[in-house]
């Protein structure tokens, strides 16, 4: 797609406006602007501020996708304003769109939100290399490129918060550390130079705040403007916790183990048994009403009627060969 000419077209923007001091409720203001084929979303924000209403406020700095200041939402989809091309937005949403902060409930002024929860979560996972720093080293640590590659670009995270505020677990569980901080935990935990002795794994292994409360919806992967893929790191943390033998015998870890048991036994998922195994014989009782509903709709079957997958032998072998831990 070589760019030979610059074209323009009209787009209508419904823009979230709110001033925490003056406004009881937020409102949406409409701006119709000429948009060029060179514009990114940040150019639109700038046009509104510089040509229409100077009080319109948003965070921005580097304007090329490396500082992480300008994350926001276009039609409910998280993005980094300075790296999102308007031609792509128009293709996706047409010539009318809504500009909003990453989190409406945390809005302070227009697109600026209170991100204190985000930074608190980040601080929680010891976000630094733990090592005794040689202040006058004569040599660097020798680390292979293969070991550096294990970071899987987690170090490229710019802390924009797009994934954090897209995460449904963060939205309903105040303790949940969230995808960005998990990616950071992975970044340091996997670093060959780090000497923290699994301290971060202990933090992310805790119920409510830890990786076990991830609902695996992949919203974080969708939201990330730097292709960090936080859920990949979350999954790695799950595995690391098992590998280190640190997983607590709690409902979260048992839920993961329950999957493996079910696949090994039936080749497919036995949802009823999964819940019983995760929560125990007493804990499972509170799910009886749901179980009955599921049963009447054919979603679960009685234990003795559980079907087996074809070629169960092969599936069993696969599970055994890929498993590194015995339970």
């Amino acid at each position: 797609m070589s760019r030979e000419t610059v074209t323009t077209q009209e787009v209508k923007f419904n823009v979230f406006r709110f001033n925490a001091d003056d406004d009881y409720l937020p409102y949406y203001k409409e701006y119709t602007l000429e948009v060029t084929s060179e514009d990114v979303v940040l150019d639109i924000l700038n046009k509104i501020k510089w040509e229409h209403d100077g009080s319109f406020s948003y965070r921005r700095s580097c304007r090329h996708g490396i500082c992480g200041a300008c994350a926001m939402k276009v039609n409910g989809r998280a993005t980094l304003a300075c790296k999102e091309r308007m031609v792509d937005m128009i293709e996706l949403f047409g010539n009318e769109m809504t500009l909003e902060p990453l989190s409406v409930k945390r809005a302070v002024k227009d697109l600026i939100i209170d991100k204190s929860d985000f930074w608190e979560k980040h601080a929680k996972i010891d976000p630094y290399l733990v090592d005794k720093i040689d202040e006058t080293p004569e040599h660097e640590n020798l680390v292979s490129q293969a070991d550096m590659d294990k970071l899987l670009d987690a170090d490229v995270c710019i802390q924009c918060g797009a994934c954090h505020y897209a995460c449904p677990a963060v939205a309903i569980n105040e303790e949940f550390i969230g995808p960005a901080a998990f990616a950071a935990a992975y970044r340091f935990e996997i670093d060959a130079r780090d000497q923290s002795n699994n301290a971060r794994l202990e933090i992310v292994d805790q119920e409510k705040q830890g990786v076990w409360d991830c609902v695996k919806c992949f919203e974080c992967q969708e939201a990330c403007p730097k292709d960090i893929n936080p859920i990949e790191k979350i999954t790695k943390l799950h595995n690391m916790i098992f590998k280190e033998g640190m997983a607590n015998n709690d409902v979260a870890a048992r839920h993961a183990v329950g999957f493996e048991r079910s696949i090994k036994k039936h080749g497919i998922l036995d949802e009823g048994e999964l819940v019983r195994y995760s929560e125990g014989n007493i804990g499972v009782l509170k799910h009886v009403p749901v179980a009955l509903k599921m049963f009447t709709k054919g979603k679960i079957v009685l234990p003795w009627k559980m079907p087996k997958a074809d070629k169960l032998d092969e599936i069993k072998k696969l599970v055994e060969s890929s498993s590194t831990v015995k339970y």
Partner: protein, 570 residues
């Protein structure tokens, strides 16, 4: 309204590489230090550095060669004692960053990988793919955070408390609620970054408005070598966003509309890897002479297609992404469109090697320090070599932090009073209440257009005079501004108005220093005086602004050394 007064041993303004490195040293020595930033530390523009950080690590390289390349690159305006200090400390600094966690790319044997860069005799730029700034900024911030350094995010510093040759704190306000506070301290460090945002085509962040420089200048303190602004050869066509020299370091070639590899005519030996000022002028000249490409014919081609997908994805992934975003061009498949972009400020707040701010050629200000791009040591002279800027910021930031820690106990705290905030309060109230009809965004655009058109890679007395006159006009119109936003919550319009006031002040330094320097040296190229003039201008410009805004120029000797003056060819 009462003004809170917070007391610290040391206050650092700016949380890029220099500010964080200094803060970590101070904290390590048990000092009570706070870092004030108008952003969040991780948003600082240090993080945008792409290509690498220089250090003579390999046996094929030497400290002396690094010194020579830096001095030659500076067109002999750098102070050679400072250059020697930097080049000697560079290997230790890079390895220290690695020990703290920086994610350098590696060689086969696990050592830090290095790549060729412009103006350098040896592959010397230690790299982390094409994101050296990001990893260095994260690393130094993380380790400062780990020690418990106090960071005050989204506080905007508006004034310096400077009386009787001594600095005793700063005045700042919180962007969240516009609450003004005084930060009273024994010592203050400015690490406020560069000033290339005064130009329309610029690689710089919106935040790089050079506030620190004009805050200093408004107190009658000097600014050094302000005419030297680096124009980087490869900014994306149209908006100037940086495409690192790494693209050329890895083998990228430049072509004009006739398909000529035109650098053969300008720098037959170094070609695309000549010094930045040389390559930038070559590009601008090709465009001026009608051999430009792209929809506006305002660019040349940068071609890396021959490097292949694997190498591009391994070493230049960020650059590829930028060209796709802003140009819709994939550098794996096709050449991209680039042109010169205002990039780096060689000039700044004059300091000596340990970081003391100069009051004039011979005296220093008590309790005041500076490091990084806002300062002028001077290690870059008239033109900075690629991959020396992050080195300077990290190395001098750290060293100045050490200086501060060792001197702090000998400095008496001068208690602040609410009166110290008067200038800041008056300035803010004036902006909020002034009822004129000029808009800051409009004035700023006119200033930036003028600076790019008339004080850019090629300058003449005539063009610079246009800029001088325009700035004079803008200063008049600035008295007549009006802001829409009168609120106290994240008043970013107030912030932009304050920043524009700073731009207007230091832009005057740039053009007036440039008019007076009737020679061509490094990044400062005068078509009407196209040769270097060592007899009259082998000296640093020292500009002083008086209370009416007029600038007086003085000069200061360059510290020469073992690298003797030579004609500069590449």
């Amino acid at each position: 309204m009462s003004i809170p007064i917070y007391t610290y041993d040391a206050i650092i303004v700016g949380a890029g590489l220099a500010g964080n490195a200094a803060a970590r040293e101070l904290k390590n020595e048990g000092k009570n230090v706070a870092v004030i930033t108008k952003l969040h530390p991780l948003r600082s523009h240090s993080g945008a550095a792409q290509g690498g950080i220089n250090a003579a690590l390999s046996s094929a390289d030497s400290i002396e060669l690094h010194e020579f390349d830096t001095v030659k690159g500076s067109d002999y305006l750098a102070d050679q004692d400072a250059v020697e200090f930097m080049c000697q400390k560079a290997p230790e600094t890079v390895r220290w960053a690695e020990r703290m966690g920086a994610t350098f790319s590696r060689k086969e044997d696990g050592q830090i990988a290095q790549r060729p860069f412009g103006g350098q005799s040896s592959p010397r730029a230690c790299y982390a793919k094409d994101r050296i700034g990001l990893t260095l900024l994260q690393t130094i911030y993380e380790q400062a955070f780990r020690l418990g350094v106090k960071f005050l995010d989204e506080w905007y510093a508006t004034d310096l408390i400077y009386k009787d040759g001594k600095v005793s704190g700063i005045v700042a306000f919180h962007l969240r609620d516009t609450q003004i506070a005084i930060f009273n301290a024994k010592s203050v460090m400015f690490a406020t970054g560069g000033y290339a945002r005064a130009f329309k085509i610029s690689s710089n962040a919106h935040a790089n408005t050079g506030d620190g420089l004009s805050i200093v200048a408004r107190h009658g303190l000097p600014l050094e070598d302000m005419e030297f602004v680096q124009f980087h050869p490869s900014g994306l066509s149209g908006n100037g966003v940086l495409i690192s020299e790494a693209a050329r370091g890895e083998g990228g070639k430049l072509f004009n509309s006739k398909g000529e590899r035109f650098m053969e005519r300008y720098a037959p030996n170094a070609l695309e890897l000549a010094s930045r000022d040389v390559v930038s002028r070559a590009i601008v000249n090709e465009i001026r002479e009608g051999r430009g490409v792209g929809p506006r014919k305002d660019a040349v081609y940068l071609d890396v297609t021959h490097l292949g997908k694997d190498l591009i994805m391994q070493r230049l992934p960020e650059l590829r992404d930028l060209a796709i975003t802003f140009l819709g061009l994939d550098m794996i498949k096709e050449p991209i469109l680039i042109s010169a972009t205002a990039h780096y400020s060689m000039g700044g707040i004059p300091v000596d090697i340990p970081g003391h701010v100069r009051k004039n050629n011979t005296e220093f200000v008590e309790g005041f320090y500076a490091a990084g791009e806002c300062s002028c040591v001077s290690v870059h002279g008239a033109n900075r070599l690629g991959a020396n800027s992050v080195l300077e910021a990290l190395l001098f930031g750290r060293f100045v932090g050490k200086t501060m820690a060792s001197e702090i106990d000998d400095i008496a705290l001068r208690p602040a009073t609410e009166d110290d905030a008067k200038r800041a309060i008056d300035e803010i109230n004036w902006i909020l209440n002034n009822n004129g009809d000029e808009r800051v965004a409009q004035l700023r655009e006119e200033l930036q257009d003028t600076m790019t058109d008339h004080a850019g890679a090629f300058r003449t007395e005539e063009s610079l005079q246009v800029a001088v006159d325009k700035i004079k006009e803008l200063r008049q119109r600035h008295k007549n501004i009006r802001v829409d936003d009168k609120s106290k919550v994240f008043n970013t319009e107030l912030q932009e108005a304050l920043e524009f006031g700073h731009m207007l002040d230091y832009a005057k330094f740039i053009v007036e220093s440039a008019i007076a320097r009737k020679e061509s040296r490094g990044a400062h190229f005068r078509e009407d005086f196209d040769k270097r003039d060592d007899v009259n201008f082998l000296k640093h410009t020292m500009g002083y602004m008086d209370t009416s805004g007029d600038i007086k120029l003085d000069y200061m000797d360059v510290t020469l050394g073992k690298h003797e003056l030579k004609e500069r060819t590449y």
